[in-house]
């Protein structure tokens, strides 16, 4: 303990820098945990809340609508995890291979740009891009394919969510991997080149193994947000024709909790979501530790 305190005194400047981060987590992540007790109460604005045990959970799990939104959340999150997670890694590897400095900067800037747009703007762009007279359908018509209304199609709407999220986040998320690649010693590549390794072989045997721990950490941390299938995105891209395919836990909680004022019920749904996230993050961490020796800590 004394040793730890001594170390803290030595590195005090680092702890000062850490303080705003800790404060943020306490205010926005620790305090709301206390509020979660609302899931077991009936809420009163004035006066004491009454404890109702698992009443809200019983209503929640017996509601067919909840089962449907849970199913949608899992499907959409799984699709995003499978199809979006590898893209920033691939993008980072490709950007790393661009030799022209200005072109590399240009590619990076263009790929980061969508991250700074709000979902309201992105939804506007994608809706006009995907409508029957939009860009995609002009290309389809050029190849004599019929127009498709992607936004109202139950078969396509989840893919619209996946690709729009991919477009928005791939560039930004690749920063972490590009930074990890930058840390790799150039001497490894030089030695590989002398040994006659091709570009692909250098990627396979140097870059990818060096990225492994970053990939595992990011993957496990992402799993913690598995049940957040993207409220802003779904809210802005949803329409009446596709509710049954894209209505997720967050939009359900928003409607029932915030719009209809059922705060306790909505808190029960949120708590359930949080517990799933915790189980996933801990489960994956311990599994990863056991099989690869790498985890979040």
């Amino acid at each position: 303990m004394k040793k730890a305190l001594k170390k803290m005194r030595e590195d005090w400047i680092l702890y000062v820098m850490l303080f705003p981060g800790i404060l943020y987590f306490v205010i926005f992540h620790v305090v709301p945990i206390i509020g979660m007790k609302l899931a077991f109460q009936d809420y009163r604005i004035i006066g004491e809340n009454t404890w109702v045990g698992l009443k809200h959970f019983q209503i929640l799990f017996s509601s067919p609508a909840f089962i449907d939104v849970l199913k949608n959340t899992v499907i959409i999150s799984t699709m995003k995890m499978i199809f979006i997670f590898p893209i920033p890694i691939i993008l980072a590897l490709l950007i790393n291979e661009v030799r022209s400095g200005p072109y590399r900067k240009y590619v990076q800037s263009v790929s980061y740009l969508p991250h700074f747009l709000s979902w309201v703007v992105i939804a506007g762009i994608w809706i006009s891009f995907l409508n029957p007279d939009g860009g995609i359908n002009i290309v389809r018509n050029f190849f004599h394919l019929p127009s498709l209304d992607f936004m109202t199609s139950k078969d396509h709407i989840r893919w619209v969510l996946v690709f729009s999220e991919m477009w928005r986040s791939a560039g930004w998320d690749s920063i972490l991997y590009i930074a990890a690649i930058m840390k790799i010693s150039p001497t490894l590549y030089e030695a590989a080149k002398l040994d006659g390794a091709s570009t692909l072989q250098q990627m396979r045997y140097i870059t990818l193994p060096a990225l492994a721990s970053t990939v595992v950490t990011v993957f496990i941390l992402n799993l913690g947000f598995f049940m957040n299938a993207g409220f802003d995105q779904v809210f802005n891209l949803m329409n009446d024709s596709v509710i049954s395919k894209v209505d997720i836990l967050d939009t359900y909680v928003y409607r029932i909790g915030l719009l209809n004022g059922q705060y306790a019920y909505a808190t029960a749904a949120s708590l359930f979501k949080g517990v799933i996230g915790l189980v996933l993050i801990l489960g994956t961490h311990f599994l990863s530790k056991r099989f690869t020796g790498k985890g979040v800590w």
């Binding site: 604005i45 004491e48 609508a65 024709s241 509710i243 019920y265």
Partner: protein
Amino acid sequence: MKKFGLWFMVLLIIGFLAACSGGKDDVAEKETTKDGKTVIKVAYKDEGPSNPVAVQYYEKLAEKLKEEKDLDVEFELVEVAQGDYAEKLSLLLNSGEIPDLIYFQGGDQQIANQDLLEDLTPYIEKSEYLKDILQPHNASRLENYPYLLWVKSIDYKVPVVRKDLLEGLSTADALLADPTPENYKAFFKELVESGKVDYATTVAGDISELNYIFDMAFGINKTWLESDNGYVFKKISEQEKAKLAFYHELYEEGLLDSQYLTKQWDTKEDAFYNGQAGVIVGTNGKVVDFYNSRAKEVNGDQAELAILPPAKGEYQGFGASDITKESRGLAISAVSPNKELVFEILDYLASPAGQQFDRLGFEGEHYNVVDGKAELTDKYYAEWYARYWEPVETSFDTPVSEKTPMLSAPAIESQELASSFFAEDNAFIIPEEYVAQWDAMENLYKEYSADIITGKLPLDAFDEFVQKWNEAGGEDLTKLANETIK
């Protein structure tokens, strides 16, 4: 040891925070300024302390209350966070901060259920002016739900079309003389075939706006329709099925915008102004007034709006008006120490002097008195709107000059037409325990109706929808309706 220390710290923080989140007070304390004025807290959409016009409005209102009623008040405008007003207001109130006077745009029922809104019935009974300006629908709504007050003309939406589009269409006369759904369709068809528009009509995301025109004609005259087996919810009725079949025809023939599902209110209005859509639906009065001035601004004076009648069939009208409660309006906090005073202010705003102030704005700025009449300025038309009561009949101390009418001719016509078709609904407030099921049932309707209209599902799928709707809680709700509706 390290782990123990870590957990101990976490528990300490949680314990400290839990201790801080203590009990909630039952009664608000009366607040006064240094010079003895009573502080009235007001939560109103877009009327926060950062809005200079709102600040000026309440300062002037306080002055008038002092001059004319000898009331010493100071208004404190509560800043409601940016974003969806109903949602942010709900969060504010649920945090325990309850202003004296609250404007609601939804979410009031949950607050009323906790006995936090004052029953306005006794106040209105003994009021000097308010009881006389209540519109028939206001009185009915107050009888059922006495917490929310909103004296405005009936809030029906009416269909409008630009007069320059109407000219030369042979079907227009038939439509105006006998507005059957068939004549509407023929008119829509000619409108599109004339090449003046891309599609005859559009709506913002769902068909609720279109229903204002066609519901009654298809026999949907109430939320719960009478049948041989008791009351049936309108959305699962045979009448609804026939209406959806008609909407599908409109969609198939390119008369209803093929992109209506992804339209928002702003893109809907843009489509109207730029000539893509011929007919849109807007709330009578001020909104039609706005559409009219914008259409003329974009397309010239010849683009003045014409108001179309509601479709005529089994019944005619803009639908039944929900009289269970006001959907928006003002409420007084039941825990406010200033309830009487707040109502006195609301009553003053219903008086001729209060009405003139609230509806015409500031003298010398929004209107000038010339020859004993109020002549409205450009600033009035550009920025002024009544915050409180707008009964159809006006009663100002200074009458408005005929040279500067408050509303354009189409807007006045829309108000008159809407008022002439007022019909009471038999809907009842959905009990809190049905909220989750109601959400699921509404989603079922939204999806099936959208799919039937757009042809993704055949009309026969309506029967499947009815079955699913009943299973999702509809059966219980129908039973409740048959017990509740007298």
